[in-house]
């Protein structure tokens, strides 16, 4: 091991482990997250995560709201992919009520979900690169994201927290000219990613900072329950869209990018490829969009049957699950959120073992946590 002392020094020099606080206010932790690092020289021996600075009691809050009223709060979990969060909750309630959702609504949901996934990955792309030291990428990433946000603004009426779907379907049809605008964006998007990739993917500096850094093996990744691109970077084929299909995803033809080595570079490649696959899905959905109703039959005042459901969607960070218990009233009895960022954060200890402190920033960036979702 690199950090073992030469034998002739052992008696002369005494070394001790050193504890270092990273955070709670560190620009690279993407929120208020604190890591207590135990260091041996410059290498990290152990990492203790301290979370909870952004705890807002969302799960409890939802228990005091009616089914419909509770929808907008889940946008605030992972505020960078509000649409997908909303889909998760709404989908769980629909499963509980056993509502049939019209095909058109499902297609529209898939389109918006995938756009949101691209938007979230773009912001990750920018900030991750910024953490490692490639500054200009952030501007390009945010510029593309802006185009998506403009699309969402025209459709949902908001820019960040959309309150996207009502229970039972979608609120309004796409406004006039929206589909053309969306297609225009998609047509340019692939070439734009090529351009950004030219900045990073084959960049020698980038490769040196990311290859072989923050490795997590297949077995560890599964054992820690990681999901999303963080898991797929280690080469495990698991994507909720394919493995537990929901909404209209079985209708579309797309691939799941997998990594092999489970390092930062693999996770980076996975996310970039995922954006291209999302473009594929949206194009198919726009082509095959059926006509029909926008909303299934849902009563104005929802009284759910007794029971419990679990519904998962593939969020931009991983598998996002909603476990809902209902006691037959107009409010949920319990809403539990399986948030991907929180669980992915567990893997950080394994990934950062024996890594340099300077690489810590790259590793945190590569698991793409959003603290709103970690702390709930």
């Amino acid at each position: 091991m690199q950090n073992e002392k030469p034998s002739h020094l052992k008696e002369l020099v005494e070394t001790r482990e050193f504890e270092l606080n990273m955070g709670p206010q560190h620009p690279a932790t993407h929120g208020v997250y604190r890591a207590i690092l135990t260091l041996d020289g410059e290498r990290i021996q152990k990492l203790n995560s301290v979370v909870g600075y952004l705890h807002r009691g969302i799960e409890k809050w939802a228990e005091y709201r009616t089914w419909q009223q509770a929808t907008p709060i889940f946008d605030r979990l992972d505020y960078l992919s509000a649409v997908i969060n909303c889909h998760g909750y709404v989908g769980a309630v629909e499963k509980l009520l056993q509502v049939e959702i019209p095909k058109k609504a499902e297609y529209m949901r898939v389109i918006c979900d995938e756009l949101q996934r691209i938007a979230s990955h773009l912001l990750w792309f920018g900030t991750h690169a910024l953490d490692i030291g490639a500054m200009s990428v952030l501007f390009y990433g945010v510029r593309e994201r802006e185009a998506i946000i403009d699309l969402f603004e025209a459709h949902f009426g908001q820019r960040l927290l959309y309150n996207a779907y009502p229970i039972g379907g979608v609120r309004l049809d796409f406004p006039k000219g929206w589909i053309q605008a969306c297609r225009k964006f998609l047509n340019t998007f692939n070439s734009r990613i090529d351009e950004y990739e030219a900045l990073l993917t084959e960049n020698r500096i980038w490769k040196q900072r990311t290859i072989g850094v923050g490795v997590i093996s297949k077995e560890d990744a599964i054992a820690y329950g990681l999901s999303g691109p963080t898991l797929r970077g280690s080469g495990v084929y698991f994507d909720v869209r394919k493995s537990i299909p929901y909404s209209a995803y079985p209708d579309f033809d797309f691939e799941i990018p997998l990594g092999k080595n489970g390092d930062v570079y693999d996770r980076y490649l996975c996310r970039i490829r995922e954006m291209r696959q999302s473009v594929r899905i949206i194009n198919q959905a726009l082509d095959g969009m059926p006509e029909g109703e926008l909303k299934g039959k849902v009563p104005k005042i929802i009284r759910s049957p007794q029971g419990e459901v679990y519904f998962t969607v593939e969020g931009s960070k991983g598998q996002l699950g909603f476990y809902i218990v209902s006691d037959g009233k107009d409010k949920p009895f319990r809403v539990h959120i399986k948030s991907p960022s929180f669980i992915n954060l567990q893997g950080l200890d394994v990934m950062s073992k024996n890594q340099l402190i300077a690489d810590m920033v790259a590793i945190i960036g590569s698991i793409d946590i959003v603290l709103g979702e970690v702390d709930r």
Binding site: E146, R204, K207, C270, R273
Partner: protein, 164 residues
């Protein structure tokens, strides 16, 4: 699909081409159209259906449309609305004596507009609500009605917006 890692040629392993690539991309962007908006000078026009500040609307007869049914108060997720109901001589007997919306709490979800049976509350395209004091963000009935009257999109329209 296992993603392929690019293999670098020998000239790519030098630092120079990397730096050159980066500079070239940046340089190309210098001559492209700007995407930013110079905000306070250049105004940004929200699209139709944008959800900004909820305001109260006035009917064609000059009275407020609200009949103080309190549906919006019950649906509002952060409980930003407070209404005190009153009675009048007018054929529609009820009216809101007091009507407060706390913009500090409002999340612009649009539920109030969705549930209102009289189309009396509407989310205006107004987004510049910041203030230095939280208490200034609680808007009373007069102010809300006044904001509703200023609404240029509503001139002569009885029904402002399609609903979800």
């Amino acid at each position: 699909m296992i993603v392929k890692r690019p293999v670098l040629k020998w000239w790519e392993r030098l630092y120079l081409p990397v730096v050159e690539d980066g500079l070239l991309t940046t340089f190309r962007h210098l001559f492209k159209k700007k995407v930013t908006v110079q905000y306070p000078e250049e105004r940004w026009v929200p699209p139709e259906g944008f959800r900004g500040a909820p305001v109260l609307l006035t009917g064609l007869d000059g009275r407020e449309k609200c009949t103080s049914c309190k549906l919006c108060m019950f649906i509002c997720p952060p409980q930003a609305i407070r209404i005190v109901a009153g009675e009048t001589e007018h054929p529609i007997e009820k009216y809101p004596q007091e009507f407060y919306i706390d913009y500090g709490l409002c999340i612009f979800c649009g539920y109030c507009q969705e549930v209102c049976p009289c189309e009396a509350i509407w989310l205006k395209h107004e987004f510049e609500l910041a203030d230095f004091d939280r208490t200034n963000l609680i808007f009373g009935k007069d102010k809300l009605l006044q904001m509703g009257r200023q609404e240029p999109y509503l001139k002569g329209k009885e029904k402002p917006l399609k609903k979800g």
